[in-house]
């Protein structure tokens, strides 16, 4: 498996993603600097967390004008698997590759702690089975997923919701602290219509080794490897 990790000026979790995919999973992975125009024959692309362009104006708003982004758009249109983590998710919505938008957390503060998500639908990164509960960390200030009622209806109709925040036991009672940012319908991650692009706020790459607390996050990358192996 060959994975390109996009590096915008201001990305700061690029090392986290490279380490998880290359050193922990053992795949071939490298940085794709934002000024480059090709992804170097990658099988999959990860857009990591961070503050691309300082997150000025809106998180991820300015990153989409970098040269590398046209290569990422082409890769997406050809059905290539793309994982946007945290800032990467924000960039993908600003690019229009994913529906909705990520807005300021409801409590208006940066939030960094472990949370739980439930796998809602199958896909290249989520073949571990519906209902599976994963413990993953979040670290963001603008993670509140928003979309119009019509978009929400389509997301459910096309099984595009990948993860929803929940408690340790997998349920999501109204108003429970399980939802760290007030996202609509407790949404933590969504796929596009063709189910090849996934954006999520939690950080699987920061929960990919037992020494860091738990390795539930590694299951996303293992799912990706199985998906690519099967192709």
């Amino acid at each position: 498996m060959r994975v390109a990790v996009v590096q915008f000026p201001g990305s700061n979790a690029d090392w986290d993603a490279l380490h998880a995919v290359r050193d922990v999973l053992g795949a071939d992975a490298w940085y794709a600097f934002h000024k480059e125009i090709s992804l170097g024959g990658a099988d999959a692309v990860v857009i990591p967390g961070g503050f691309s362009y300082g997150d000025y104006l809106r998180a991820g708003a300015i990153a989409r004008f970098s040269p590398i982004v046209s290569a990422v758009r082409g890769f997406a249109e050809r059905g290539g698997p793309i994982l946007g983590i945290c800032n990467g998710f924000q960039v993908l919505t600003e690019m229009g590759l994913l529906p909705g938008a990520l807005t300021r957390n409801a409590h208006l503060r940066f939030e960094c702690r472990d949370i739980f998500v439930r796998v809602e639908n199958d896909g290249p990164f989520t073949d571990m089975g519906q209902g599976q509960v994963l413990q993953l960390p979040v670290a963001h200030a603008d993670g509140r997923y928003q979309c119009s009622p019509e978009t929400l209806r389509q997301l459910h109709a096309n099984n595009q919701v990948a993860f929803r925040y929940c408690t340790r036991h997998g349920d999501a009672p109204e108003g429970s602290p399980a939802n760290p940012n007030g996202a609509v319908d407790d949404i933590a991650g969504v796929y596009n219509r063709d189910k090849n692009v996934l954006g999520m706020m939690p950080h699987p790459e920061r929960a990919s080794e037992a020494i860091l607390g738990n390795d539930d996050g590694l299951s996303l990358f293992q799912s990706l490897r199985r998906h690519l192996g099967a192709q």
């Binding site: 708003a61 600003e94 529906p99 938008a101 957390n105 409801a106 409590h107 928003q146 119009s148």
Partner: protein
């Protein structure tokens, strides 16, 4: 030439920052505050003085970058 661009959240989008401002103002004794919404003011200084072309340029700046159409509206004013 100068232009002021106002980017505001769409009506139906929850505005926690606006809520926080309303609650804080009321707790400071400004009971008359019924509602508050927080948006962005972007002040631009532009070369040239042709209002028509400025108008269309500003519109496309907003559509391309300054506002996120999914959740934000924009309006602007041009000052000589």
């Amino acid at each position: 030439m100068k232009a002021n661009i106002f980017v505001t959240l769409k009506r139906e989008v929850l505005d926690p920052e606006g809520d926080a401002v309303r609650r804080s103002l009321r707790s400071l004794g400004f009971e008359e505050v019924k509602a508050a919404r927080v948006g962005k003011l972007i002040e631009l200084e532009l070369h040239g003085d042709d209002r028509e072309s400025a108008e269309s340029h500003i519109r496309s700046m907003c559509e391309k970058l300054l506002a996120n159409p999914v959740i934000e509206d924009f309006h602007y004013e041009i000052l000589d």
